[in-house]
Symmetry: C2
Subunit: 206 residues, 2 copies
Amino acid sequence: MTSTKAERVRRAVLADIVSGALAPGTPLDEVTLAAQHEVSRTPVREALRRLQSDGLLEVGPRRRLLVVDVSPEHRRELTTLRVALEGAAAAAGCERRDEDDLDGLELLLIKQERAAQAGDAEIFLRLDEEFHLTLAGAARMPTLSRMLGQLGAFVRIGRLGEETSAAHMKALVSEHTELVELLRARRASRLRAALATHIERTAPRG
Amino acid sequence: MTSTKAERVRRAVLADIVSGALAPGTPLDEVTLAAQHEVSRTPVREALRRLQSDGLLEVGPRRRLLVVDVSPEHRRELTTLRVALEGAAAAAGCERRDEDDLDGLELLLIKQERAAQAGDAEIFLRLDEEFHLTLAGAARMPTLSRMLGQLGAFVRIGRLGEETSAAHMKALVSEHTELVELLRARRASRLRAALATHIERTAPRG
DNA sequence: CTCTCGCCACATGTATACATTTCAGTGACT
DNA sequence: AGTCACTGAAATGTATACATGTGGCGAGAG
């Protein structure tokens, strides 16, 4: 087995949550999930426990686990957190980045360009998240990266009904390009400021 | 039952980890833990899964779960993260704090004063953590508070062999007092700067 | 003596059966 | 009519038995 059943169930449920197939507030029933994924309740429970620890599920009445909701205030909080964490990572990354970091980011820029051209918002959003995680990864701060990964799930829930035009996507790629150049030039303050502006513009809904 | 067995086991294991009774690198054996806590393996496994999601356990050889180690670099990372997160919280807290926040913080100051006077480092460290969480709580940012809670466990692991003199404790209380005054006066920039200095002084080892 | 192969023990992964909790609905009593 | 206690169903919590797979360790060949 390439991985455990619990882990596969966890990924599947996570995917259903961030894709909106499981709407916020939905109660997760262990036996139903077990049947859907053709496993016993045991791995399902372990998957749910981990999602609960990640903050994606909350306990409701009857000890049931519900998919968390992302309120407008919560979205604003997420933006603040991203600015703080990605900003710190970007500053540290200016000192520690190497050529591989830049190469990886440039590759992502090309892919984003293609997705923007094709108008494929779904792929673009995934690439956008990967870009930000990669940028933060240059800081070599694993705990910070873990936290951003957790935030990513919330961000995706919050973005659910969001529609992204091709023009908007191209503008974002252009901003990403500038971020990479600032990282290359190791201009920490400028990068931090540009990143903050970029993040706040990406999530303007309040 | 006031809570579930899994939750009690989780708290007990967490306490053993942050107290150093379970040293970093120690493999956690499910049947041993089950015997120690007089429960079956099932609740033990759920407890371990949650601790794993919180980053306190990592998978080792034979899929065993090991207590994570906190390296000097990791400690530096924790300091950077605390500055970023608590700083953001402090700035937001200057706008949202109410009288209850200040009352709670002042009560903690009094308790810390007593612990410093008595030279009780263990109680003092617990109060110190509670103080920082309460200060951050004024920001009304639940996700940020959750993240700081997770960081707290790492911080406590990193501080394990640390000895704290009565004089040092008194100095910290004095700094805490100033932080509260800055929060009361809603001086966000000054508070952020003072907090950063304070956090960096608290964890100078590296 | 060393290196490889295969066997086996042990810890974890999974399934299933049983216990317990929780809350909603019902009925009697005030 | 309102309220309280009780009951019962449905979900989660727990225990146990069985499956799996990994890595150590010894036997045998080179």
